[in-house]
Symmetry: C3
Subunit: 349 residues, 3 copies
């Protein structure tokens, strides 16, 4: 999370197919829109790209236009459209999807997610398509945001330049797409899974942070595991992935499934222990500051402005979640601890 | 491997000293040229640089000119010449080696390998030397390729720019040189070997892929191991290294020795299990597509275009190897599996 | 270490608060200045930034001006001033601290350390402040150096450009600041410590090396550990960190404490075993060369110019330390081994 006080939350980037071959083809879209408690994602991403079969994309677009305005989804809505730096037809379909979405439900969506972007020029081209639709339908400049999936060698190569473009544009988030990325690079699964691309994740976190953008991890698609005759939700491996993402400062994780949303929402909020620890450290710091003994040492660790900023981040993230998802903070933290976190003085000066 | 369908194979980049102090000073060069089966590298690199002693370099050049045309080597031939971004005399020797090679056996070689390049300007300078020789002897522009060894801080710093130069030039491959690189950076072996430079390898794979170049790993020089009184070939540690390289999408590995070539050729081709798995997934995908149920799920994993591309990569790599090294695919895969791989329909649409 | 023969040593970058709330507020500064043997750092960094409490900074500046000239500190002195790319007041304080230091003790200091720099433009701004002070007080251009702490997303994003600025300016060192850096990126400690930022360290080592600058690791602030009722110095974890730094070619490590200085000085000098091993390899190489058998193989490993450079680095580092800290080399190495290292011929030609 780049700067918890003024940044939009995106602990969860949950994609939902806009149409599936079921009696109600909007089933998954609607259940995303109506999710409650920890199953409610910060961002819901109705998926018109790889999550919806080619022959259902038209119906998916109608579903999005029809169902999104009917729901009172409390978070942000960012449809994913079709696009590819190397396929003019995919870009053409994306252009027309963006026009329909902005024209019909421009008030209901926060932005669009554009996949398979290439170098900077291709990201600028996608931004221009959004700007044109926005202007056609009389929206203010910048009111429809842009998020891109970083899943090509070209986008990774231009990552710094793409992020800097975000400093002066509607680009708001960088999302990792490991499946396409691994395929583009020719990465191999020799029996122990895809490479983790640690260098890419570190760079994604850094460039997003330096440019004031959100950084989001990639999907984890081994949803289920079979062992000893039982098929069950693969909670452990997803948790491992999203904890790694949280550690290096990604703001949120991709979810494909309500249980993943529970986990990603949870991991990207401070644990009760972290909150307790950091609230206590700030309380002790505040006491020592009042006592006026100058440099403050807590548990053998010197507290300077930089150390302090780490403690403060924890508290400010909890405050931001509390602002928008009061039911989650209420369920997760002990009432008295939450009260301390909300009322604490958090200034180093 | 960047794009298995239109890319030259370089699973193995085998260097052979162009001259050694033996009765037949071309012994190792000739055995590289005459290698068969899995010992035959995709690229043979007659080495006029560090692999050939200073007092034997002149003889090495004559060996290369004399022996290469006599062999019917089925792969590509890329002599490594002398060069250094920081040594004018080394560049002068390199220039004259390139001129001799192009002038005398320009029809027999596919390109030259230039080591110890510095920043982009130095790579451009090397490319200009090749262009001048090519033009002097009447070869078409671009007919003699260029591969560079990335083994200096400067080349790593300019890696993205060097790779992009490859988009519009004869530069065809980026090869890692860990020994010089570690020495330049002042890296330390504290008893557990050289650093692995994971960040560099990830970047090498990405930049090569984004620019349509080949990416090749560095040499492994602990050829032998001694234990319990026996000296034996160090197969395990070399396999560990080249498997790491394959995982992050390097196209091939450096070989110093016929047994290494067997291993690198093997690791950079899909295992029978991988091939079986991906052929079966595509077969099941094709069936489900024919059945027309829309989005396809296999073993609890949704198959979209991106996932599909991974399966297809495996099959197309096998097809490319089969085109040029039929004896290797025949020996490695079960006949019936190979037949399925060669005849399968591999389109997502 | 970039190039041991012509580079200043900075195995240890030891910060000392310029003022602390004790009877003698210069206590830690003075003990840094008077340290002996392995406790004497290569660089002493009187800290006017986060290590000195806000209400003691004025006194810290006076302490620095008063005490530094009285000491005969044998290494280099680099005060750390206040600065921040995002805080004009911090930069104003830094400017006035730099002016006082250069004006009053410009002969005694080797440069200043500027923290929390942002993108290239901010580093250039800091360099201009030093240049202005230098010129005001009649010092030669470039006589006061600049080191920057890389601890913001922006500085990491511009790392290559910042390092290249060092090729043509007074910028001499890049120092990592992990606490602020982790906070800026929103990195999380989920119970197993801060992320290690391996990608950043690899890039820091590379860019510093490519531009001829020093690269220094970040502070380790868990100075003490408590176990089984005893509080004791945390030697193990600090050693783990600085060994990791040495492995990837950082020139030195940050020290907060005399015992850390002992460890960092030690790790960044070759171990007796390394020295023995590499001296012996060079001796055997020299013998083989005299015997004239051409390419030399030692213990199954071919020795070429690149391999040889690694052995030579070890010997040349020891020679550089011996030049400035004779008491350390005398204490650390066996007398006869040291003599061999000092007299050995170390040329590959």
């Amino acid at each position: 999370m780049t700067s918890p006080t003024d940044t939009r939350l995106c602990r969860t980037f949950q994609t939902a197919p806009a149409a599936v071959p079921k009696e109600d083809s909007a089933k998954y879209l609607v259940s995303g829109l109506e999710a409650e408690g920890f199953e409610a994602p910060d961002w819901l991403v109705p998926d018109l790209e790889d999550g919806t079969a080619p022959d259902m994309k038209a119906e998916g677009l109608e579903n999005a236009i029809d169902r999104i305005p009917k729901a009172a989804f409390p978070g942000e809505i960012w449809p994913r459209v079709e696009w590819s730096y190397e396929d003019e037809r995919a870009r053409e379909r994306g252009r027309s999807q963006i026009e329909r979405l902005v024209g019909e439900i421009g008030d209901e969506i926060d932005g669009v997610v554009v996949p398979k972007v290439g170098r900077l020029e291709d990201v600028e081209r996608a931004a221009a398509v959004v700007a044109a639709a926005e202007s056609s339908y009389g929206y203010d400049d910048g009111s429809i945001g842009l998020a891109v999936i970083v899943e090509t060698g070209r986008a990774r190569s231009d990552l710094r330049e793409i992020a800097r473009f975000g400093e002066r544009s509607r680009l708001a988030a960088l999302v990792f797409g490991p499946v396409d990325y691994t395929a583009e690079l020719g990465g191999r699964d020799l029996g122990d899974g895809r490479p983790r691309w640690d260098g890419l994740l570190e760079a994604l976190s850094n460039e997003a942070s330096a440019a004031g953008l959100l950084a989001i991890g990639g999907p984890f698609d081994d949803l289920f595991k079979e062992r000893a005759g039982l098929t069950y939700y693969n909670a452990d491996e997803y948790a491992d992935q999203i904890e790694r993402e949280a550690r290096v400062g990604l703001d949120g994780s991709w979810s494909l499934y309500p249980k993943q949303t529970i986990q990603a929402n949870t991991v990207h909020m401070p644990t009760p222990d972290e909150l307790e620890r950091d609230v206590e450290k700030i309380e002790r710091f505040n006491e020592a500051k009042r006592a006026g003994t100058g440099a403050v040492t807590i548990d053998g660790q010197m507290v300077d402005e930089a150390t302090f900023k780490n403690f403060r981040n924890t508290v400010e993230t909890v405050r931001a979640i509390h602002d928008t998802r009061r039911e989650q903070t209420a369920a997760y933290y002990d009432e008295e601890l939450l009260e301390r976190a909300l009322t604490l003085e958090v200034s180093y000066e």
